[in-house]
């Protein structure tokens, strides 16, 4: 099977959709000739033209609202938000308009739009260009939230997001753009709300998102050498969350580490951990649930500090080992 990068998978999902559905278009800053800050839309303006690959001024609130208004009237916009940190400027349109319109209007009207946006640290871009703020949008009824970790997932989930009749926030991790996996050429859809067991195991469950899926898998390989059998679950979509898959796994292993790149305090890991603690899996827990997330500081510039800010493979390994020691 063909291998392409995560970045190419995202582009392919958009392009294939745009070829068959004229209502789908992209808008955002520098997505045209520039090809987007990370090159995701590179070449697309050449194929689809400047109307459908629409360069915008630097006006995050305005373009988000324009996307909402166009979705409400029959288009299916994909908003390319250059860095996910800039959602701070578009929050009103996403949260107070897109998420609530259908409910406020008593079920009339719909807002089929996707906000695609790169998140995460590791590029040295410091505090205002490296955040993982997905927890904010998970808290808002009316939104769906997707966080793919592989090229394969990215393509299938993006198709599902575009096909969805609701506003979907689609987080792409910058450090994953260059990673590759097998990706079918034909279109396919991965249902929103379906977790993926990225590795089966029996001793400990790691629930990991985005880049942490890869770090968890690496940690699992290391731990396997010491006879520790780790299961890695990737929720893939945070809202809706596949609670069943997580509960099933934790009920089997009795131990769970939840790991994400976002700041630990108030991160979505808290929701996942609490959900587990409230569920029937509680009775199977033989050790306290453990969360790993970023340290309580803004993202620092210096590369070593930047690394230390977020969970790395050794941190995951250590967390698992401590958990096993205890039980």
């Amino acid at each position: 099977m063909r291998e392409i990068t995560y970045l190419e998978a995202v582009r392919e999902a958009m392009s294939q959709e745009m070829r068959v559905n004229n209502d789908v278009f992209i808008l955002g800053e520098d997505i045209g000739v520039y090809g987007g800050a990370f090159g995701v839309t590179s070449g697309m303006i050449e194929e689809f033209g400047p109307e459908r690959v629409r360069d915008t001024p630097i006006s995050e609130a305005g373009i988000a609202g324009t996307a909402v208004g166009s979705a409400l009237t029959g288009m299916r916009p994909i908003l390319d938000l250059q860095f996910s940190d800039f959602i701070t400027i578009a929050m009103d349109q996403i949260v107070n308009q897109a998420a609530k319109i259908r409910y406020m209007y008593g079920g009339k009207g719909m807002v089929p739009m996707v906000v695609r946006t790169p998140s995460g640290s590791g590029t040295g871009a410091a505090a205002q260009h490296s955040q993982s703020l997905e927890a904010w949008v998970t808290h808002i009824p009316g939104l769906k939230v997707v966080q793919p970790s592989t090229a394969y997932d990215a393509k299938g989930l993006l198709k599902a997001a575009i096909d969805d009749d609701n506003p979907v926030i689609f987080y792409e991790h910058k450090l994953l753009y260059k990673t590759s996996s097998h990706v079918p050429e034909d279109t396919y859809s991965i249902p929103l709300g379906k977790a993926d067991v990225k590795r089966e195991g029996s001793d400990v469950t790691i629930v990991a998102t985005a880049i942490m899926v890869h770090r968890a898998l690496e940690a699992a390989m290391e731990l396997a050498k010491e006879g520790i059998d780790v299961e890695v679950i990737d929720p893939r979509t945070l809202v809706p969350l596949d609670e069943e898959a997580i509960i099933t796994s934790v009920s089997k292993t009795g131990r769970v580490v939840v790991v994400h790149e976002a700041v630990k305090r108030g991160g979505y890991g808290a929701e996942i951990a609490s959900m587990i603690a409230e569920s029937e899996a509680f009775d199977y827990l033989v050790a306290p649930i453990k969360r790993l997330g970023a340290a309580p500081s803004p993202v620092p510039y210096h590369p070593e500090l930047e690394k230390a800010h977020v969970p790395q493979v050794p941190n995951i390994i250590q967390a698992v080992k401590e958990m096993l020691k205890r039980a």
Partner: protein
């Protein structure tokens, strides 16, 4: 007898209907005011009594396919865009027959199918939505225009700025109608901006900015007609500043300390309905009797609406979690 110069689109019959419509709007709001005072309606409300000419005058030029976005002060816009008073009243009463099944209330009345993309509780929140709607028209090569209503205070929000700029550079078919009623809640527009006319702001985007007497139906129809034609010709947006006044307080709980009674009285003398009536009478479209009859009919519409609303069912708790997702 004076000749009324109005857009071609405005037939004689339409003129008469518009007169009645203004009364429907006025009576609707007076009734809402009364019921709020009595505690019979929940939440909060913002009345546009005194501003009927901008709602009715602008929407008079719109076809069903055309769209509007509205504000927290949107009852008039809704009715003028074709909403029926009964379903509006039912919404304020929180009934399932209301435009939003009782889930939205006064600040969120919408009728997407009829081209009303919604009132909005966020000041300036609807402006980018209007631009998005206009973008749809542009991209799908549909001929509709979108009218975006907002207040003077809204022009100080960043989303106003961003959205108008977008509409301008993309030459979208949208008409920005700023109802300058002199105050944003308690803040006099004179203290909140440093220009005499908000229409001046259009210059920052390279689009026409027109100052209009917002209490003059005839003028409102004519400037709107011009702007719509421009939009349909593909020449882009127009900014219309309608100078007007809200007679009532900002919302139900306003002691109006920030303005004088004299000022209020002065503006009440400029009642847009009375003015339109005089214009119609002078031009021979209306007799005193006919005017009274229309006014009575309007009153009846509201009475029926109240009855409809009052007899409509309440939502049940099962409705809480429906309509969140499509």
């Amino acid at each position: 007898m004076d000749r009324l110069i109005v857009p071609d689109k405005i037939t004689d019959n339409k003129l008469i209907n518009l007169y009645k419509q203004m009364w429907v709007i006025r009576f609707f709001e007076e009734k809402v005011d009364e019921y709020f005072a009595k505690g019979m309606i929940h939440g909060t409300t913002h009345l546009a009594i005194g501003q009927e000419a901008s709602a009715a005058g602008v929407c008079a030029l719109l076809d069903v396919e055309d769209k509007i976005t509205s504000t927290h002060r949107g009852h008039g816009h809704c009715i003028a865009k074709g909403a029926t008073a009964d379903k509006m009243m039912a919404e304020l009463f929180g009934r399932t027959t209301g435009y939003c099944k009782g889930k939205g209330g006064s600040m969120h009345i919408a009728d997407v199918d009829m081209g009303n993309l919604g009132a909005n509780g966020i000041v300036a929140g609807g402006i980018p939505l209007a631009v998005g709607s206009a973008l749809t028209a542009h991209m799908k090569k549909l001929n509709y225009v979108t009218v975006c209503f907002f207040g003077d205070g809204a022009t100080n929000e960043g989303s106003f700025h961003e959205a108008v700029n977008l509409a301008s550079i993309w030459k979208l078919p949208v008409i920005f109608v700023c109802e300058n009623n002199q105050y944003g809640m308690s803040s006099p527009v004179k203290e909140m901006v440093n220009v005499d006319n908000l229409a001046t702001r259009a210059q920052a985007y390279g689009i026409p900015g027109v100052v209009a007497d917002g209490n003059d139906m005839i003028e409102m129809m004519n400037v709107t007609d011009e702007a719509i034609k421009r939009a349909r010709r593909g020449e882009g947006p127009t900014f219309i500043e309608a100078k007007t006044y809200r007679w009532k307080g900002h919302s139900k709980s306003d002691t109006k300390k920030y303005r004088t009674l004299e000022e209020e009285k002065e503006w009440m003398r400029k009642d847009p309905i009375k003015r339109f009536k005089n214009d119609l009478m002078k031009a021979g479209f209306l007799t005193k009797e006919k005017a009274e009859k229309l006014q009575e009919e309007a009153k009846k519409v509201i009475e029926d609406a109240v009855k409809f609303a009052d007899e409509s069912p309440m939502p049940t708790l099962d409705d809480l979690l429906t309509d969140v997702y499509a």
